[in-house]
Symmetry: C2
Subunit: 363 residues, 2 copies
């Protein structure tokens, strides 16, 4: 069985020995801070690290149990029931679910190989008056595309002009396997952007340590929502992460991940080229967890999922990534937790299924 479903790290990449040491250190040095009730913004030393890394102040940082939970706080604070929010289309399916659950109207801005279509953004912005735009600029989930510098600049200017909050989610940013970093949206529109990030892809997702960095006013508001939700977040794993960072071990860990995941991306792209170049289009990602395929033939997602299941190939439902419910022809391919052999065999199966369905002429 091969699972092209969720974007999970390879457990072989967890720095287990270092984490074991760090958790002991956290309990030894930080117990006064992590055992009682505390503020809602999270473990102060880790907030300080995030603030310094971003050139901001302590109170501009809030840490929670993963960035998705912070997105839920943002929705509570800024997107009341019935508000319109923009997402890229396709976008991260769990983000779309968070918005939908709160009663938001979710509108998708079409993606191209170099990020969102700016004309569509202008038009949708005018027509729907969105309160926020949720954007994953680096190695986007699920398409793999990276927003170009000129589009980042245009998006930042648009957000300022329309008074629209940007929620910039950058969990994959450090996992770049080629090319150079581009400026964050946060750096281009600092008063307008809440930047979400996470240690899930770098250290371990089960620790649940996600961060928000943004303007003081907005973070203050999120801190109130967080307090009203759980008083204090779970602090032990935040202290653990801080101890890991304080040792200076992050760069080496990132390098390990790049060396593990980069070749898997190359393997994925090579076998796609061999097996599916006549069947689908895709962006060549420079990092991250995903390659997103758009199949050329009309296909029903239900048929694709069912056929996959028959041969032990587990796929995500492409429609979950599309705010407008389209996405039948979209397939997200996570490659980080699979070996090159598994990737090859999975793509070969996928190609065979797609070819069969295309010939069957499912309308």
């Amino acid at each position: 069985m091969i699972a092209f479903t969720r974007g999970v790290p390879d457990p072989a990449a967890f720095p287990l020995e270092e984490l074991s040491l760090c958790v002991q250190e956290a309990m030894t040095h930080d117990h006064d801070a992590i055992l009682p009730y505390a503020g809602s913004r999270g473990f102060p030393l880790l907030r300080e690290w995030v603030a310094e890394t971003n050139g901001g102040s302590l109170d501009q940082v809030l840490i929670s149990h993963g960035a998705l939970q912070i997105l839920d706080f943002i929705v509570t604070a800024y997107a009341p029931n019935g508000a319109t929010v923009l997402v890229e289309q396709p976008s991260y399916d769990r983000a779309v679910t968070v918005f939908r659950r709160a009663g938001c109207k979710v509108v998708g801005v079409p993606m191209e190989a170099d990020g969102i279509n700016l004309e569509a953004l202008e038009e949708l912005g005018r027509r729907t008056n969105p309160v926020l735009f949720y954007v994953i600029p680096d190695f986007q989930n699920p398409s793999g595309a990276t927003l170009t510098l000129s589009k980042r600049q245009a998006l930042a200017a648009w957000a300022v002009e329309h008074g629209c909050l940007l929620v910039e989610d950058i969990p994959y940013r450090r996992l770049r396997y080629q090319g150079e970093d581009l400026p964050t949206l946060r750096s281009l529109a600092p008063e307008q952007t809440i930047q979400l990030s996470s240690f899930s892809k770098l250290l371990s997702p089960g620790l649940r340590v996600g961060t928000a960095f943004g303007p003081l006013l907005q973070i203050n508001r999120l801190a109130k929502v967080a307090e009203d939700t759980y008083i204090t977040p779970s602090l032990l794993s935040q202290a653990l992460v801080y101890r890991f960072l304080a040792h200076g071990w992050l760069d080496h860990q990132v390098q390990r991940l790049q060396e593990l995941y980069g070749p898997r991306l190359e393997a994925m792209l090579a076998v796609l080229q061999e097996e599916m170049s006549d069947l689908a289009d895709w962006v060549h990602p420079q990092g991250g967890f995903f390659v997103g395929l758009t199949l050329r033939n009309e296909i029903r997602a239900d048929d694709l999922l069912a056929k996959g299941k028959e041969v032990g190939l587990i796929l995500s439902d492409g429609r979950g990534f599309y705010a407008d419910g389209a996405g039948d022809r979209f397939v997200r391919l996570p490659f980080c937790a699979l070996s090159p052999d598994e990737i090859r065999s999975g793509i070969q199966s996928l190609a065979e299924i797609v070819r069969g369905l295309a010939q069957g002429g499912t309308p």
Copy 2:
């Protein structure tokens, strides 16, 4: 400065050495379960412990970052915007905030020394058609009252008759300093009750480990809300708590707490009797964290809080505990984190302030 504000445990009561050992054990034995993404219901071994303790099955248990977060999930699942929920009056102020934030109409059922007034429950139930009733039956926060057996039976019967969900919150239940346990609401109306509990008061609040035990159908629904909120909860501290329980150390820890907190309650009651018997009425709690005073004279909460602050006595706003915004004359007195001397000095200050305000004749 003496703080009669939040219900916090005494940090001296944290079993630090045992927790340090347990966190190492958790990382050594449970890393396969706690480092990757996992299900949304929480660490399986701890869920198993809760299930066995309650005579239920694994999937009837959900664990989150404190019970308040689970209450928020219950609201998302069962109390849509505009729904009516019942709470005891007075009730836990943070619970009232969770309901209000979601747009619920919060209706208070008046408390008496032996728990809710049943006639008022009948009348309010008929008139407002509530979807759920949030109840703290043991050593209630903030009044200290315990619901009697006959009232528990009547409440359970009422809930079944009206198809109203009971949310039974029992964080203090094991902290009984005198008298005998009464049956839980969950045991009296098992198909109708979600029971919340927590290790915050027994081990440490910063670990954020709260539990829900209830009917499978309801817990399944909460598990979906939890997954949509944070995918997986923070698992490290859940594994730590499990290791503590697996050592069989909980009973001894509870006994330590009873020995520490019981005399503080006695000190509080003795000095109240000396200083305030002509100024206020209160219930004699048999356990928990709080004594709740109702002042006899008309007093404005704002005056009381301001006068307290002047002499270094920090009080909670009584109105926060009252769904209908009354509560000017209500004062919650947490005693667990204060020494008998601090308690004496705090109550003496409070008595002086109340006497002054009463003589001033604030209307």
